[in-house]
Structure formats: C-alpha cells, structure tokens
C-alpha cells in the first residue's frame, strides 16, 4: 500500500505525533517522489495538518521522517526550512504589519545571494499580477485570496525542493481557488516543483496532483493515483459528494 520507492524525496514511516495527551497521528506512512504533486485528503481532525507539521517540525513527532535520505525527526522548524522544505501554514502566516514586498523578500531569508532573492521575488510576484502592483501596501489589507497568493509567492523565493501547502483554498472565492491551483499546477508540471498539498476541496486537489493519500483518524486508509481515487466509490461519497 505504501509506495516506498528508492527515488522518494520525502518519506514518512510510522510517524506519530501528539498535542499534549492527545494523539493526533497514529503511525502515518507516506512518500513523495521528486517532481511529484501529492494530495492529502481527509475529514476535519483526520490529521492532515498535523502530518505537515510533523514534516516541518512544528509539532513533536516520533517515527521516521526522511528528506532526501536524511532523517529530520529531531530538527527544529528553522533547520527543516534550511534544508529546502517550505511550509505554507494553515491561515497563511502573513505578516500583516509588513508590506507585500517585505513579506516576499523574507521568503529568501535562508539564502545568501541577496540579488538572487530580489530577482526571484520579482519572478514569484509575476505569477500573481493582482498583488504585484501593490507591493508597498500593508499585507494585512489584502483579501484572503491575495494573502494566500502572497504566501505562495513568498514560499517560492526560498527556492524550495519541497512545497507543503496547508488548505490553500480555505475561505477563498472560487475564482481565487482556481487561479491559485493553476499556478500550483504550472509550478509542478512546467518547473518540476515537488508539492504536498492538504485540501478539503478534494475535487481541485485530485485534478492538480498525480498521487493522493486519504487520512482517517490519524492513519492512511487509502492511497493511489489521483485519477483512480477520483473514481473510487468511497472517496466519491465522502469527499466529492456525488
């Protein structure tokens, strides 16, 4: 059931995580290959967000988390980020008080080449004309969709090897959701970016990724190619609603 291939960029093996006394992950195993886009589906409280947090180190975890062949279980978030994993958290994590441009530039905090950071910030903003023209504006004044675009642009400036997206569609207008996922698909298919995306919106997640995992109460219960899962009766009934 677990697609453990020697090429995997990210490999989770029997990962457990807890918030105080409450166990949120009961042994999650999954893998993401280089260049792949993978979605993580499941109901509220299934452990999707916690899985991403276990990867980026914002929750304490046991079991094996390996990135590019290296165990990263014990690394704090800033060290995980420095390995090339960019986590766009639930709620986007925008600095409201800073300008749009400052937010984007901060994405390059782990890089040493300042000129390269500025160049990549320009390139990242080019994906989103709506916010590119408002770079001097306070980021807190952007709409939810624009903030999500800003968070994605900022993540790109770090030149990630793996992008973790947590519920990018949450609370966004349908047009913003499709614009956002159009960029995600472009980054994955044209630029070879590896993506692991958590989504409630299973329809857009399955059409934007090649592989998918379904979580239930902290465990992987199903996985397979996204197009197969889109036709799977259980997935259709639970997550696609038809």
């Amino acid at each position: 059931m677990i697609g453990a291939s020697p090429m995997a960029l990210l490999e989770l093996d029997d990962v457990e995580a807890r918030y105080g006394p409450i166990k949120a992950l009961h042994g999650v195993s999954l893998s993401v290959e280089e260049g792949q886009a993978v979605s993580l589906l499941g109901a509220n409280g299934a452990g999707k967000t916690t899985t991403l947090r276990a990867i980026s180190g914002t929750v304490r975890r046991t079991g094996d988390v390996a990135f590019d062949g290296r165990r990263i279980n014990r690394r704090p978030p800033e060290a995980v980020a420095r390995l090339g994993i960019s986590h766009v958290p639930e709620g986007r994590g925008i600095y409201d008080e800073l300008t749009v441009w400052e937010n984007v530039i901060l994405g390059g905090s782990i890089r040493r080449d300042r000129r390269g950071v500025k160049r990549d910030a320009e390139l990242a903003l080019r994906h989103f004309p709506r916010i590119a023209d408002r770079r001097k504006q306070q980021a807190g004044t952007l709409s939810g969709g624009e903030q999500q675009m800003l968070a994605l642009a900022r993540a790109l400036v770090s030149r990630p090897r793996l992008l973790l997206l947590d519920e990018p569609s949450l609370g966004l207008a349908p047009t913003a959701v499709s614009e956002l996922f159009r960029v995600v698909r472009h980054l994955n298919r044209e630029e070879g970016l590896t993506v692991l995306v958590v989504e409630q919106n299973a329809r857009i997640a399955l059409t934007s990724t090649q592989h998918a995992y379904v979580l239930e109460v902290g465990r992987v219960v199903l996985d397979g190619p996204s197009e197969d899962l889109a036709r799977h009766d259980g997935v259709r009934a639970s997550y696609l609603g038809y």
């Binding site: 978030p77 800033e78 980020a81 958290p89 994590g93 925008i94 952007l142 770090s158």
Partner: protein, 295 residues
C-alpha cells in the same frame, strides 16, 4: 523669548537621554512582549564600565565609549539567551519578575564593585557656549543631542533598510511564521536585546556626562523613558522618541518657569500626572496605531 529657546535646548538634551532609553524599552517590548525594568540599570552598569575604562585603564573617552558599546551588546544578548529565553516558557509575569531581579542585582553589583559613592565622568564636549541669534547654548547640550539623535537614526536605518533588521521585525511580529521561513528567531531576539543594551549604555553615558552619577542615577531616567514610551505608544519607536523629547522639553520649561512657585519636588509628579491625562484621552498613546487587518 531667548530664555524660552534656552530651556528648549536643555530639554532636548534631556530628551535625547530619555529617547535612547525609551527606544530600548520599545525594542524589547515589541520583540519580547514585556517591559524590561532592568533597562536603566543596564545603562547604569555600562556607564560604570566606561568610567572604569577611562579612570583606571587610561582609555581615551571615545575609545572607552565604543568598547563599552561592544560589551553592552554581548551583555544584552547573553542576558536574553541565558535568562530571558529559558524563562519565557513559564509566562510573561515570570520574565517581568526576572527583569526586576536583574535591576536589583545590577544595582547592588555596581555598588559592590565600584563603591556606591558619587562619581564624575569627564565630558567629551568642551565646556563652552555658543551664541545663535541671542540664544546661549551649551556645547555639551548640543553634543548630547547630536549623539542621541545619531544613535536613534542609526537604529531606524538599520531596521528599515537592512535584511537583518527586516528579519528582526518579522521575528517580533510573527515568530512562528519566521521559523517556517528558516529565520533563527532566538538569535534575532538576542541581537535585539544586545541593541537595546547598547542604546541604554548611550543613554547612561550621556546622562553621566552632564551630572555626577552613582548606582541609582538611572532610576529617574528610566521613569521618564518609560513615560515617554507609553506616551508615544509602547510599540511605536517613532512615538517613543517624540514622546521623550516632549517630556524633556516639558520638564525643562516647567523647571524654568514654574520652579519658583512649584518647587523641584513636584516636577516628576506633575509630569506623570500630565502623562496619565493624555493616556485617558488617547489610550494607545500619541503614535499607537491599530493594525489594519482584513479577514
């Protein structure tokens, strides 16, 4: 009218001393979320170090000044790393208590090392006066104003235009996000404490260049600096500096025109009473701002 401007110049010199310390308080409050009650004593301790370097080790004034700033930076950063960060998990009240403990420790330590007697620090500025359009100004006062403004300007440029400054601002407003971006938030916090300690040292050394000093001389400066920071809006660096100069000028005018019938004893109470009145009208302070946020 010339008398008025003379009082203003004296007020600006005092204001500069309050401004550097008020800015230190604001930096810590923005980054750590607490008021560092030991901020004044950090400046006091550094002033004693500068005095010892000049008096006992024969360093020239400005050599001692800059060496003290280096010591202040590492001392402030170490305080953050060794005391504040380990305690921060236990809650804000514990950290505030720790700064009060630090205040008392530094105060006692300075008296124990250098004796609590009053000391004099030679002034780096000539004891001359200059006349500008009938107004007589002390070169000393002008020097203190100049050094304070320069330090404040350097801090603003650093935070506004450098990459490290931006990362420090980001760490202060969003530590969790900053860690996800790979920023070493703990290190940023320590650098912030180091910078604040440097500003306190400037405040202390400048204050000591105008008056004799002892281990308690910064307590009154801390009171005015705290008042300035609150007046300006405790999270507003610009506000704290403006507030400090307003308080400096206000007190100078008060003691110039009103001391004959008010007496010097009422200076501090009156200044703080005015401060409270202002805060009743504007609770966020003069420059306190509400962050615009859309959901």
């Amino acid at each position: 009218m010339t008398e008025f401007f003379q009082y203003v110049v004296v007020g600006l010199a005092n204001g500069g001393i309050y401004a550097t310390l008020a800015l230190a308080l604001v930096l810590i409050h923005r980054a750590t979320g607490i008021v560092n009650f030991a901020q004044g004593e950090m400046g006091m301790f550094c002033t004693f170090i500068a005095w010892a370097l000049i008096t006992h080790h024969g360093l020239p004034y400005w050599g001692a000044f800059f060496l003290t700033l280096v010591v202040a930076f590492f001392g402030g950063a170490a305080t953050c790393k060794l005391v504040i960060q380990p305690l921060s998990r236990t809650g804000e009240l514990t950290v505030v208590m720790a700064t009060i403990a630090l205040l008392i420790i530094l105060n006692g330590l300075a008296g124990w090392i250098w004796s609590p007697e009053v000391k004099f620090l030679e002034s780096p500025f000539p004891l001359e006066v200059v006349h500008v359009g009938g107004v007589v100004m002390n070169v000393q006062d002008l020097g203190v104003i100049g050094v304070s403004l320069l330090c404040v300007a350097i801090v603003f440029v650093f935070f506004r235009f450098t990459r490290l400054g931006l990362q420090m601002r980001a760490s202060a407003v969003g530590p969790a996000t900053s860690r996800l971006l790979g920023i070493r938030v703990g290190l940023m916090l320590s650098i912030g404490w180091g910078l604040a300690a440097m500003l306190s040292a400037v405040s202390g050394i400048m204050a000591a260049s105008r008056l004799p000093f002892d281990p308690n001389f910064m307590l009154i400066v801390l009171t005015y600096a705290f008042a300035a920071a609150v007046l300006g809006g405790i999270d507003s660096p610009v506000g704290s500096v403006v507030g400090a100069f307003l308080i400096g000028i206000g007190i100078s005018l008060l003691s110039g025109y009103a001391s004959s019938f008010l007496g010097t004893e009422l200076q501090l109470p009156l200044a703080l009473a005015v401060l409270m009145l202002v805060l009743i009208v504007r609770p966020a302070g003069l420059f306190g701002q509400v962050v615009v946020r859309r959901v």
